[in-house]
Amino acid sequence: MSIPGSWFLVVAAMLFTVGAIGLLVRRNVLVMFMCVELMLNAVNLTFVTFARMLHDVGGQAAVFFVLVVAAAEVVVGLGIIVAIFRRRAGATADDLHMLKG
């Protein structure tokens, strides 16, 4: 065990935080999706680190499933975006003002 696991966990936590902040701060829907990807990657890193620390391959298996979920989510999310923004130009969340709140 070379680099202590906690270092990786801190990196993952910071990455998750950056992703969450980005999701809250950015208005461009595509960039918001990318921030979700950042968050999912932080989770992946956490899982892999715990897998090493616990000597348990279960954490790596979890990453496997997260990858599938991320792929499915991106496909559907981008499908929704394409369906909406074929009608209009621009993809900022401020253009979504039909429903209030």
């Binding site: 999701l23 989770v43 680190t49 616990l54 348990d56 279960g58 954490g59 929704i80 709140g101």
Partner: protein, 586 residues
């Protein structure tokens, strides 16, 4: 065999596949498999079969999987609960209850969606198969005994619902609802997943039973990580079940999605989320009860209060139902706070009755909504009793049942939740819940009164001169006077809430109002100027509201369930009482 290969085979120990108990999986397999078959059949028929075929297939699927779930329940009763597929799935009374619930929701969804499919010219096979897939996700969530299975079930449920929410492509609001739902849903999924990761790190497993035994054996060795994981899990599920303060997506998404989908979303997403919540908290983390109970207490109180207050000031019926669903979520959380076997059973009972109430309500909203779900204003419901007496009667029964009037399942659901929490000493929470129930009852009664033309609603009060609060002559019961007070309050609240159209109405639109008595104020705003276009089209008598056969059936089913089991509660209550968990609290 080459030497290299034989060397490999010798080195790798034999793979012992876990035993798969297919009978335990059958309800989910039928649900997901029939969705696949439906899609295949749809793609093989070139011009498409009539929508009724898909509706019938979906109903049959729901019935089949419900029947299988009941058979599974028999087996659980005789042989006891068990874990299947290497401990990934828990087959117990609790999961059986939710399997039946979701199957019922699928049957009702097929019926409620049928008029919508025919009206909007959408493809029934796609809508219904996505609904079935989504339902299979909810089933996996309810039966899961592993955090990863819960997560995958959650994603199956949610991703299908994102697509369903976007399905009304003739209405721009539908896509907007879908994207809002998607962004917030993906955000909450990521949070939930991070919670799973931290819990995994702190306990060494994602299996709920293993987590439970680990936590029971190693008490409070390292709190921080596990508590952080628990908090993230609660936030993630709080988003899914729309508990305050994670509710902000609910009104917009409910309003923008196709009406039958909204009902399905309300019933199934809530059921799946609460099933997972109960399962995680009760089966894996009962030892942390003192940590999660106060959090859920706060969420329950907030949901009850905010849901009740905001439901009353809405004018859009779908938004009202969204806020009322938040208030319902608060009630169900009360049952979770109870943290007992009775609490779990009351949560199951509440969700089962709520499924019928909300699916029936949204079936009505679907037909009243008209093309592209446009008529959702409170005024569109004015005089519904004259236009479609039976429809209005059924809707009224479902609404008063949601309000918790005795001799309905809605009352019993609230009663059991309160009993469960009082048995654990939560008197304050019970009182808050009852007060919130009274407050939110005003909203249901106002809608009923509007349908029967007994009360002026928000718009009338906002416009001042033309808001005849005509309940003075409508029975001297005190019950009727009170809603009138709230409605005028609501009107003022709506007017003061920075809604320019009401001000315009009060001034310039007065003439138009006077002729139309009341209007649905769907206006187009162009450039800089406000254009208040009264489009309610003589809403006093309004457009003729159709009452398709499918809606008749779904309404009859929902009303029958609500009233019959409200008066004769024994079967359903017994069913819910068997909803105990395989692991954890008993």
């Amino acid at each position: 065999m080459t030497p290299l290969l034989s060397l490999l085979v010798a080195q790798v120990p034999a793979l012992r596949l876990p035993q798969v108990d297919y009978f335990a999986l059958l309800p989910e397999i039928v649900m997901a498999g029939m969705a696949f078959v439906t899609l295949g059949a749809r793609s093989l028929t070139r011009r498409g079969l009539p929508p009724a075929v898909w509706t019938l297939v979906t109903m049959a699927t729901g019935l089949a999987s419900g029947t299988l779930a009941v058979l599974l329940g028999r087996r659980v009763e005789t042989h006891g609960a068990f874990a299947a597929v290497d401990g990934a799935l828990a087959v117990d009374g609790f999961s059986v209850l939710f399997l039946v619930l979701v199957s019922a929701a699928v049957v009702l969804f097929a019926l409620a969606a049928h008029p919508w499919i025919e009206r909007e010219g959408e493809d029934g096979a796609e809508l219904l198969s996505l609904g079935m897939l989504s339902a299979s996700g909810a089933m996996f969530m309810a039966a899961a005994n592993d955090l990863l299975v819960i997560f995958l079930g959650l994603e199956i449920l949610s991703i299908a619902l994102y697509v369903l929410a976007a399905l009304n492509r003739r209405r721009a609001a539908s896509g907007e609802a879908a994207i809002k739902y998607f962004v917030l849903g993906a955000f909450s999924s990521a949070i939930f997943l991070y919670g799973i990761a931290l819990t995994y790190g702190a306990t060494g497993s994602t299996n709920l039973a293993r987590i439970g035994t680990y936590l029971a054996a190693n008490v409070s060795t390292h709190g921080g990580l596990l508590l952080a994981g628990l908090a993230l899990l609660l936030v993630g599920l709080g988003f899914k079940v729309a508990a305050v303060p994670f509710h902000t997506w609910t009104p917009d998404v409910y309003q923008g999605s196709p009406s039958p989908v909204t009902g399905f979303m309300a019933a199934v997403a809530k059921a799946g989320g609460f099933a997972a919540l109960v399962r995680i908290l009760f089966a894996a983390m009962p030892t942390l009860r003192l940590d999660w109970q106060p959090v859920l207490y706060a969420l329950a109180v907030l949901s009850l209060v905010v849901g009740a207050i905001l439901a009353v000031v809405q004018r859009d019926v779908k938004r009202m139902l969204a806020y009322s669903s938040i208030s319902h979520a608060g009630f169900i959380l009360v049952g979770v706070v109870a943290a007992s076997a009775a609490g779990a059973a009351s949560v199951g009972y509440y969700l089962l009755t709520y499924t019928f109430l909300i699916m029936g309500s949204f079936a009505v909203v679907t037909v009243v909504g008209g093309p592209a779900d446009a008529h959702q204003d409170l005024e569109d419901y004015r005089g519904l009793a004259r236009r479609q007496p039976l429809l209005a009667l059924g809707f009224a029964i479902l609404l008063v049942a949601q309000a918790g009037v005795p001799f309905t399942t809605g009352f019993l659901a609230k009663f059991y939740v309160l009993t469960a929490v009082i048995a654990q000493g939560g008197y304050v929470l019970a009182v808050i819940a009852m007060l919130a129930a009274v407050a939110v009852a005003f909203f249901y009664l106002r809608l009923v009164l509007v349908m029967y033309g007994w009360a002026g609603a928000g718009a009338g009060a906002g416009a001042g001169a033309v808001g005849p609060v005509g309940d003075a002559d409508a029975a001297g019961a005190g019950e009727v006077v009170l809603p009138a007070g709230t409605t005028s309050l609501a009107g003022v609240g709506a007017g003061g809430g920075g809604e320019p159209d009401l001000a315009v109405l009060g001034g310039g639109g007065g003439l138009a109002l006077a002729t139309a008595t009341s209007t649905g104020v769907e206006q187009a705003i162009s450039g800089e100027g406000l254009v208040a276009a009264p489009e309610g089209l003589a809403a006093g008598d309004g457009d003729p509201v159709p009452f398709p056969d499918a809606t008749k059936v779904v309404l009859a089913l929902c009303v029958a369930f609500t009233v019959v089991f409200g008066i004769w509660p024994a079967p359903v209550v017994d069913f819910a009482r068997h909803a105990t968990l395989l692991f954890g609290l008993r």
